[in-house]
Assembly symmetry: C2
């Protein structure tokens, strides 16, 4: 079964001939299970060595925000980009979990009444609905902080230089010049009516930076050459842009039910999107072109990069 | 001029004979100026290398929360404990700034309507009053993230092992088992009516952990022996407890005007404090005893530790 969007765009044939999509989706699902299991252990109620206490309500809220059936796309990209440089999954898992903690924190804070004011996330009540606003703010703060503890810990990588580099790169991607800054611009977008260039910058910060980090992190973990690292970084940028275009398309064509959250919101709030500027058809074409560019970037890795290439395609074909 | 509290407790004589207090306060003020200057530069509007953009409103809110005339006690402790191990101020400044960023973020989030709902901080409107709630949440998130960027960066320390260790220790102190967890327990305190042991744990997490980190960070930066590091950690724990007792005393005896924020709030909210349990006089005695224990811990360092000892005394004598 191929999603209607792919049938329309004639991508079905490509998948039909190589079977990539089924294999890929199974791989992504299996990886999500392992990542969720590791997050589950990480967020156990029992205090770890050196911790005074883990407040029950805080842990419950962090678990609610982090263990809700996400696709685990970002940590998957960390694991797969690390595998490209010969890094075993166990040796990339801490960095993958750190990134997922940052992603989950950002969703919890973005959903708050003062921000996007969303009641549902993946079909479940958002953290501030299931608990309360104060607990949701703290759960987000706790996940963000935990991410850096994971990256700094010896279990992340034997080389402290690699750990420090991951800390700096994740902080840059997630911080004032990245995701947090992008969310600020997004909140102002309803008033500012950004043009295409401004929307691209906002998206590069808000969602692009973490996806770029996901791919670059694998290269950092694998002590890749500067050239390979730049390639993975560029790949992450391309798929970040494609991801956002696909998201904007889904926000227009999908239903609340299929997405497990409220859709059509950008338009309702008067925020400009690239779909509003380019139109649906051109937005889809551009997303496809970005995926092709992303795949081309990895050509030097041969079939070792097949999973990452499939992931790029998946990103524009997903239905939620 | 000695504060009434010290006159009552006969501490005046001690200071009158050695002149510590005047010297110390001048040193703290001068240090606060340098730290504020460095924060000012850190939070400049101009993007730094590798940053796409620094959204104006976000930077203004972060500056409002971080550049508001704080005493800079925590970064001062980092600098002075590092100096004990021969580390120049310039070489400890990044870690000091990182800790202050975490402190400022915690104040911004704690002041939010969903949390402690405070309108004033150091006599100025809190960030969500001067801006709005969403911007205040993001400003806090941005400062927390920036702290880890600072610690991971080469400018923090030439040895990446030291940088990673600082990252892990700050994350533990600030995270779910430290400050964030403590704030969760504090929010629940009005309902839970914690006993003395529970209040001590709450305080050790909410305020103690960062003060302990401040002192231990100096030892980490200075590659101190495990024994010296444990000593500085214990010193930080003692002054953390003394700080909190002094804070609880001030919350009862001080005025809103002198503190630049609302006082008497813990009692009004029905949260148990150690002062409510022990009484004012015993709380003061215990704070003094903790300061003496803290000073005794540093006896092996001779007069090189005079500034840190003065700081311990200052912590229980301060009027705000």
């Amino acid at each position: 079964m191929f999603p209607a969007f792919l049938q329309m765009r004639g991508v079905e044939r490509m998948f039909a001939t190589d079977g990539f999509m089924d294999d890929f989706q199974n791989r992504l699902l299996a990886s999500a299970d392992r990542i969720s299991g590791a997050l589950d252990a990480l967020l156990a109620q029992q205090p770890r060595e050196g911790e005074i206490s883990r407040p029950e309500r805080l842990m419950a809220a962090m678990r609610h925000g982090a263990l809700n059936g996400g696709k685990r796309l970002r940590p998957f990209l960390v694991l797969e980009s690390a595998a490209l440089f010969g890094v075993e999954e166990a040796d990339a898992m801490a960095a993958a979990l750190a990134l997922e903690c940052v992603h989950c924190y950002s969703l919890i804070h973005d959903d708050l009444p003062a921000m996007d004011d969303d009641d549902l996330r993946r079909g479940q009540p958002t953290v501030h609905k299931a608990f309360d606003e104060a607990t949701a703010i703290l759960a987000g703060d706790g996940l963000l902080t935990l991410a850096f503890e994971l990256l700094g810990s010896a279990a992340c990588h034997r080389d402290a230089g690699v750990r420090s580099e991951l800390v700096v790169e994740l902080a840059k991607a997630a911080g004032l010049g990245g995701m947090v800054g992008g969310q600020m611009l997004d909140l102002q977008a309803a008033e500012d009516a950004p043009d295409e260039a401004a929307i691209r910058m906002l998206q590069a910060m808000k969602t692009g930076a973490l996806l770029r980090f996901a791919c670059e992190a694998g290269a950092i973990l694998g002590s890749a050459s500067p050239s390979d690292r730049a390639t993975l970084r560029a790949f992450g940028e391309k798929i970040g842009q494609a991801f956002q275009l696909a998201d904007d398309v889904l926000d227009v064509v999908s239903s609340d039910e299929a997405m497990g959250k409220r859709v059509g919101k950008d338009e309702a709030m008067g925020k400009g999107t690239l779909v509003a500027i380019l139109g649906l058809e051109q937005a889809r074409q551009r997303a496809d072109a970005l995926v092709e560019e992303a795949e081309a970037l990895l050509s030097g890795f041969g079939d070792r990069a097949d999973v990452l290439k499939s992931c790029a395609r998946y990103i524009v074909s997903r239905q939620q």
